[in-house]
C-alpha cells in the first residue's frame, strides 16, 4: 500500500482547489451512492494550459473515461492517468450545473433561509475556485464528472444512468505533471432526480510508484505513449 499523504472529505455541494505535484495518486471515493464530482485541471506553472475534453476523447477513441485512459491538456501532454476504477465509466461530456438549472430543478434555496445547507451550483463553485487561482470566466472548459455515466444512443440522445455509482466506488488518478485541481461536488446536469442528489466524496493523496515501461496507461494506446513522451520532454526542459 502506498503511503497516505493527505485526506479530505468534500461534502455535498462542496468545492476545493489545490496543486498536486507530479507522481502522486489522487483517490476519490463515493461515501454514499449516486456521487458526481466535477473536476477541472490546469498547469499551475502555465495557467493557459488546461484539460481538453476533445483532445482527450479523440486521441483515445472514446466518449467515456476509465482505467487506462489519460486526461490530456490542450498542449498534447498528460495531466493525470486513470490507473484504477471500480465503475468502468466516468463522464466528460455533460458539464456542470448552473445556478439557473439548480434553482429550476431543485427549488430556489438561499443562504439567508438555509444557511450553509443551501444548494450550491457547479457554476458558482468553479467561479470562486478559478478566481481564487487567478483564473476566471473565460477559463471554463468541459469538466470531468467522476462517478457519472452518460451514454449516447444511435440518434445522439444523451442518457444519464441512475444507480451507476454505488457507495464505496473509487477512482484513482496518478499525476503525470504538477496539476492545479479544481473540484465541485455538485450534481450532474443530466441527473433526472428532482431532489438535490449531491453526496460526500473523500479525496486521498498518496505517493505513486514510478511509471514503468509496462505501465497500463502508457501502453493503452500508441497515442497515450506519444502524449507521455510529450510530457517527459516538457518535464526535462522545466525541471532540475
Amino acid at each position: 500500500m502506498s503511503k497516505q499523504i493527505w485526506k479530505k472529505e468534500i461534502p455535498a455541494g462542496g468545492k476545493w482547489s489545490g496543486v498536486v505535484s507530479k507522481g502522486k495518486l489522487v483517490r476519490f471515493t463515493a461515501l454514499e451512492e449516486g456521487a458526481n464530482l466535477s473536476l477541472l485541471l490546469y498547469n499551475p506553472n502555465d495557467l493557459t494550459e488546461r484539460y481538453n475534453m476533445p483532445d482527450t476523447l479523440k486521441a483515445q477513441h472514446t466518449s467515456h473515461l476509465t482505467t487506462g485512459h489519460v486526461l490530456m491538456s490542450d498542449n498534447g501532454r498528460i495531466f493525470a492517468s486513470l490507473i484504477e476504477d471500480t465503475l468502468g465509466w466516468h463522464d466528460t461530456i455533460s458539464g456542470y450545473t448552473t445556478r439557473k438549472l439548480t434553482d429550476s430543478k431543485y427549488g430556489k434555496t438561499t443562504y439567508q433561509e438555509k444557511r450553509n445547507e443551501w444548494y450550491r451550483s457547479g457554476q458558482e463553485n468553479f467561479t470562486v475556485e478559478l478566481v481564487r487561482n487567478g483564473l476566471g470566466k473565460r477559463d471554463f472548459v468541459p469538466v470531468v464528472n467522476l462517478f457519472s455515466k452518460v451514454f449516447c444512443d444511435e440518434s445522439g440522445d444523451m442518457n444519464f444512468v441512475l444507480e451507476h455509482c454505488p457507495k464505496g466506488a473509487t477512482v484513482t488518478l496518478r499525476t503525470e505533471m504538477d496539476v492545479l485541481l479544481v473540484l465541485s461536488n455538485t450534481p450532474n446536469p443530466l441527473d433526472p432526480r428532482d431532489w438535490y442528489p449531491s453526496v460526500p466524496v473523500s479525496m486521498e493523496v498518496l505517493a505513486a510508484e514510478q511509471v514503468e515501461e509496462d505501465d497500463y496507461c502508457l501502453n493503452h494506446r500508441p497515442e497515450n505513449r506519444r502524449a507521455f513522451e510529450n510530457t517527459w520532454e516538457y518535464e526535462a526542459l522545466v525541471k532540475g
Binding site: K58, S94, C152, G156
Partner: protein, 216 residues
C-alpha cells in the same frame, strides 16, 4: 440508426450583404449583428469548418459545446439547435441545414494534438488552433488563448456509440451543402477552414468553404 435532419433555406444569394470564400487552411473572424444570418457552404464536400463563437459584448463568455448539447440532451447539432455560451446565454440558433448533422465533441486540431494522434513529426503541420490564434490576435487583445474552448466542426461526422466509443468517420456532407444560423445578440464568429492532412474526415484533401451573411 443515425438521424439526419435536412432543412433548406429560403434566403437568396443575391440578397446577401456579405459573400466570401475561405480557402482551405485559412481563417476568418467577424462580429455578427443581432438578427444577422450566417451561412457556411461546404463547396466541394466533406470539409470541416472548425467554428467558435463569442458573446461580442462580453468576449470572456465563449461558446460552450457542453452547455449546447446538454441544453438539447443530444450531442449532434442541426436545425433548431441553440448554440449557447458558457454562461448559458443563447448566442445563435441554427435555422437551416442541408447536411443534417454536425459535430461539437471532436474539437480542433493543434500542432500538439497532431503529435499525439498521428506522430511526433507532424508538429510543424498547419492546424486549426494556429489559425484560431492568428485570427484572434487581430482584435487587439480582446480575445486570447484562454478563450479557446472546444468548438463546432460543421460538416464533420464524429459518431459516438452507446458503449462509449468515438470515431472519426468519413464526412456526411457533399458539395454545396450548407448550414445557416441566426445571431441572437452581437456574436463574434471565428472559423478555421481545417487544414488537416492526416484525417479521413475530409478525404485527406482540405477544400474551400464559402461564408454569406444576410440581414434579418
Amino acid at each position: 440508426m443515425a438521424v439526419f435532419n435536412r432543412v433548406e433555406s429560403e434566403r437568396k444569394i443575391e440578397d446577401a450583404i456579405y459573400d466570401e470564400v475561405i480557402l482551405a487552411g485559412d481563417g476568418w473572424m467577424r462580429e455578427l449583428e443581432p438578427g444577422q444570418v450566417l451561412r457556411i457552404v461546404d463547396l466541394e464536400g466533406n470539409q470541416a469548418a472548425d467554428t467558435l463563437f463569442f458573446d461580442a459584448d462580453n468576449p470572456d463568455d465563449h461558446y460552450s459545446a457542453v452547455a449546447t448539447i446538454t441544453g438539447q440532451t443530444n450531442i449532434y447539432l442541426s436545425t433548431g439547435s441553440v448554440l449557447r455560451a458558457e454562461s448559458g446565454k443563447e448566442l445563435l440558433t441554427i435555422v437551416a441545414d442541408t447536411c443534417g448533422r454536425h459535430d461539437t465533441l471532436g474539437g480542433a486540431c493543434s500542432a500538439q494534438s497532431n503529435t499525439v494522434r498521428y506522430s511526433h513529426d507532424t508538429l510543424p503541420m498547419h492546424n486549426c488552433r494556429d489559425t484560431f490564434m492568428l485570427q484572434m490576435a487581430k482584435f487587439d487583445g480582446k480575445y486570447e488563448k484562454r478563450d479557446l474552448a472546444p468548438n463546432i466542426n460543421f460538416f464533420m461526422n464524429v459518431p459516438v456509440t452507446p458503449d462509449g466509443g468515438l470515431m472519426f468517420a468519413d464526412g456526411v456532407s457533399a458539395p454545396g451543402r450548407y448550414v445557416e444560423m441566426k445571431s441572437i445578440s452581437k456574436t463574434a464568429a471565428l472559423i478555421s477552414n481545417c487544414p488537416q492532412l492526416n484525417n479521413p474526415c475530409n478525404a485527406y484533401n482540405p477544400t474551400p468553404v464559402r461564408v454569406l451573411i444576410w440581414e434579418e
